[in-house]
Assembly symmetry: C2
Homo-oligomer: 324 residues x 2
């Protein structure tokens, strides 16, 4: 069975020899750049591993794996413009290194390329693969729009937050599993179970990301600790706190959400303190664990040999325990 790290190596090797045109350079150089600066390659590896659940010949899903990774990077490229982010994976973002127009257009080209790779599969599965991909791609746009809308709202419910991360993050991880299963000629119910496994892993993955912003070990977690707190980013921890806080804690939370002039360490410590009084760490860990358990239930239900599932179990465990 293909392991995650073998999958990563394979994908990185293939991405390096991706046939990207040369001219016009301002269109294609940013595409090569964003691919080169890396990433965990979680989604494309899941495409291959999901396919590998059903066939030894997981390379039949290679084009779809690359298509999903291209699409994911396209969304990062455009999200960075919209969020005005200056740094991505320790490198300047495309609109910083080139300019906004070039970032818009090279993102557009990447999106088109991703469709091209996705559609390059066996005739027998072409239609369902394309349908799952384009439905998912549109959902990712919806998720980004909800995310932008929520930025300007003082409070959103945890339910709205969960719906947003499902669209923005989880469905593409779900579709990676689903498309892998489709290329592996899995039955409709196995495709559905693969998809649901991915969706729940994706939810756990995003909530874990929120969690690590507050409880991650500095230097181990890839980002600086407390950034979400400082930017009042809507996270699972914050939406839950807003729902649970009463009385004096509620007032303190509101004070910090609207404060404009403060010491950053003081704000981080104050919010951590509120989280601690509301037992947010435990609640968040428990939410993550529920999604993890739900993912495992779908894997358990799959009517395929147990030994084929081992590598995906490892991934689920790693995601739940990830520190970076």
């Amino acid at each position: 069975m293909l392991s995650f790290s073998e999958g990563q190596e394979l994908i990185n090797r293939e991405l390096q020899k991706l046939p990207v045109a040369h001219e016009p350079r301002d269109l294609y150089d940013p595409i090569k750049y964003i691919i080169k600066i890396g990433g965990k390659r979680l989604r494309p590896v899941l495409v291959l591993m999901s396919c590998n659940l059903f066939t030894e010949d997981y390379l039949i899903a290679l084009k779809q794996a690359l298509g999903i990774e291209l699409f994911h990077n396209f969304t990062l490229l455009h999200d960075d413009i919209m969020d005005e982010s200056e740094i991505r994976r320790n490198h300047p973002t495309v609109h910083q290194k080139w300019n906004k127009n070039i970032a818009i257009l090279s993102g557009d080209a990447m999106s088109i390329m991703s469709h091209r790779f996705i559609a390059d599969c066996d005739e027998g599965v072409m239609r369902p693969v394309i349908e799952m991909f384009s439905k998912t791609a549109l959902e990712v746009c919806e998720g980004q729009q909800f995310d932008m809308n929520y930025e300007n709202r003082k409070q959103i419910s945890t339910q709205d937050y969960l719906k947003m991360i499902e669209l923005k993050t989880a469905v593409l991880i779900a579709a990676s599993m689903g498309i892998g299963a489709l290329t592996g000629k899995a039955s409709a119910s196995l495709v559905k179970q693969s998809y649901e496994f991915g969706k729940n892993i994706g939810m756990a993955f995003q909530i874990r990301d929120d969690y690590l912003d507050v409880y991650g070990e500095p230097g181990v977690f890839g980002k600086m600790i407390g950034q979400d707190i400082l930017s009042n980013k809507k996270t699972y921890l914050l939406t839950r706190s807003i729902e649970l806080a009463r009385g004096i804690i509620r007032k303190e939370l509101q004070k910090w959400q609207t404060a404009t002039d403060y010491d950053t360490d003081e704000k981080i410590n104050a919010i951590r303190n509120i989280y601690s009084r509301l037992e947010i760490e435990k609640l968040t860990a428990s939410a993550m664990n529920e999604y993890y358990q739900e993912a495992i239930r779908h894997l358990d239900k799959m009517k395929i040999k147990e030994d084929r599932k081992s590598e995906l179990r490892k991934i689920a465990d790693t995601i739940l325990a990830r520190h970076q």
Copy 2:
């Protein structure tokens, strides 16, 4: 045979009932808006008419026609951001009416929707239809990038200009014809001839647009006369003039290209005068006519009944003679 105006009516009717989701509104309202404010619907009608060359049942190409029109409108939406255009078809552009981020994201969603419509066709032609579309879509991005690059260059050759409009404008009109022919199950050589007819019509169409900016009748031509002249936009007329101008005419042309403080009527008249001394009107009409003739040659070569070609001949004549 489907006439152009019948095709337009059909497309406009179908666009009105296009299944566009409602939520989030900031994502989908701009899509409904840009579709509603109109356009000539040249590309989708050509898809249907091209299909109709080979079968009575041209409605089999309806989804592809809508997909092409969605893609075209997506490119307008993003081009308007990049060009900072405030008005499109007498209405505020999407980034003006909403904002840039919404325009980026709703454009992304439109691009994804266009792929979805294009792929929704008969299994037998799915692969070549998707391949022609995604290749073309990427070329349109290349054309837009060249266009942006050329804006900052003092002079470009007519050859570079023609390559740019081929990518930015002509190939999508070509692919409209090609995809129509593919859905109509035309042979490879008939698909090629349809494509080439479209490409040459597209070139004539764009050069005619450049021509009308200078020689169009005010009030008949949809845009204000002389706008390209005032903005030093690279057009067939300007690139030819730069190549041909010598001595005092060359100096005068250069003076107007770099002038910052001038009376607009004076600049328009001065450039028209230069064009007149260089016989640019005749040269441009002749270039248009060559592309028109080349288009007709491809139509003539098609081994199908003559009476099936009549409506496309009319379109070619209309485009060459169009005043708006």
